[in-house]
Symmetry: C2
Subunit: 223 residues, 2 copies
DNA sequence: CGCAATATTGAAAACGATCAAGGGTCGTGG
DNA sequence: CCACGACCCTTGATCGTTTTCAATATTGCG
């Protein structure tokens, strides 16, 4: 199983390319035909609206990530484009009675579901047993690991992060106000900066240690 | 895709049956050969030990549930038998380079991963955006829905629940002490009883309404 | 330039954790 | 058969974290 989805393979399978503008809905849970989407570019967010009026973000889908509309329907999630997003869409062969797609396609889907599972497992533990600083630090380290960081700003690692503080709060289960305070604390502790859509890890090693971040679940060569 | 794993099919595929006594480890994350296990009987719990010394239960595996040791390794989870547990074990064909198993097996694995995903998604939202009473109520309703309830005790629905209050706390991210108080509140509000390993829903409808429980994610005929 | 969305800060209140102590139940061994 | 220990459940009091409410910057965008 490859470490990452072979996007090139997928491009050549006759999927339909679609784009979504920032803020638009990629799929709701009462959609048309079931589809499998692979994100080629941009950030998307899977979220649930709860009856109590709050929102929760269950997953950010990044480059190479998969969106199964069958799955989002089952999970009662909505997927929305955070930035402009490009995807390739396929009919959702996974729910057909017979194997109808190249067999390696099944392996790709299973791999994606597993990576996804590993992230959710980590995030569950995160939300259940860690405090605000650990949760937010963890989330930002996860995102940095997944999108990949560059080096600049006095040789610190950084990455572009199009999320608002509210998005992050909705993803880690904290109020926007508190995310703001946590970010200030991290800034004052010279751990990281988050300004103008850019996250700079001022001291990534210390941060990772502080929030005990373990890349295993994200930087997967296993699956 | 079937609503449930066709255990009969699986039994006839030459898997090896194994049993584990209550409390023993079913797999840790440094296990031997990767395997796929299907639980025939009993309750198991997937959990993570965090560096801060706390435990978090990411999933309870019940009758018909699947355990992939590849996946638990990736997620750095440990699986422990809560009660005595019987499983059928297969080599983990999902990580082989070629399709090596009956193709419907792939569909079974994908279905299980999706159901699993839907539960985790629901639990994430639960932990992130609901209070203690809602979380615990939700968890018990989820378990009741998954194992199936019987009627007795003045015609109330009930089910056998082998978990301790500590287990539940570790699964919903609350302290044991607080779980205890929440259970007392629910008892005093005539919503449910949890005594001697039995959960009785005294007023299931009102409870489900109070914690806004939605069975869609659990009672799946879709996948 | 002005509006809307986002970020920031303070003060008060709520919620859940933690600490500490006691009670019940079960199984084992004397 | 009883005593003991292990484990689980229960309750009270206190402390800390995070939420909420409210008000004010700041930024981005048409």
């Amino acid at each position: 199983m490859a470490a990452q989805i072979p996007i090139e393979h997928i491009r050549n399978l006759g999927g339909v390319t679609r784009t979504f503008t920032a803020g638009s809905a990629i799929c709701g849970y009462d959609d048309e035909a079931p589809r499998l989407l692979f994100v080629l570019k941009g950030w998307a967010a899977c979220s649930k609206m709860l009856p109590n009026g709050t929102r929760f973000v269950t997953e950010f889908v990044l480059h190479g990530g998969m969106i199964s509309t069958t799955l989002t329907a089952l999970s009662r999630e909505t997927v929305r484009a955070v930035t402009n997003v490009t995807v390739v869409a396929f009919p959702d062969f996974t729910s057909l009675p017979k194997i109808e797609a190249p067999t390696f396609f099944y392996r790709i889907v299973i791999g994606e579901l597993m990576r996804h599972h590993a992230r959710m497992s980590e995030r569950l533990a995160n939300m259940g047993r860690r405090d605000a600083l650990e949760r937010t630090g963890h989330m930002l380290l996860e995102l940095g690991t997944r999108v990949g960081t560059s080096r600049d700003y006095d040789n610190c690692e950084y990455f572009d992060c199009p999320l608002t503080q509210a998005d992050i709060g909705d993803a880690v289960g904290l109020s926007t106000v508190h995310i703001n305070r946590v970010l200030r604390d991290m800034r004052e502790a010279h751990l990281l900066l988050f300004r103008n859509g850019i996250v700079v890890f001022l001291d990534r090693a210390r941060l990772a240690d502080l929030v005990d971040f373990d890349e295993t679940c994200f930087d997967t060569t296993i699956i």
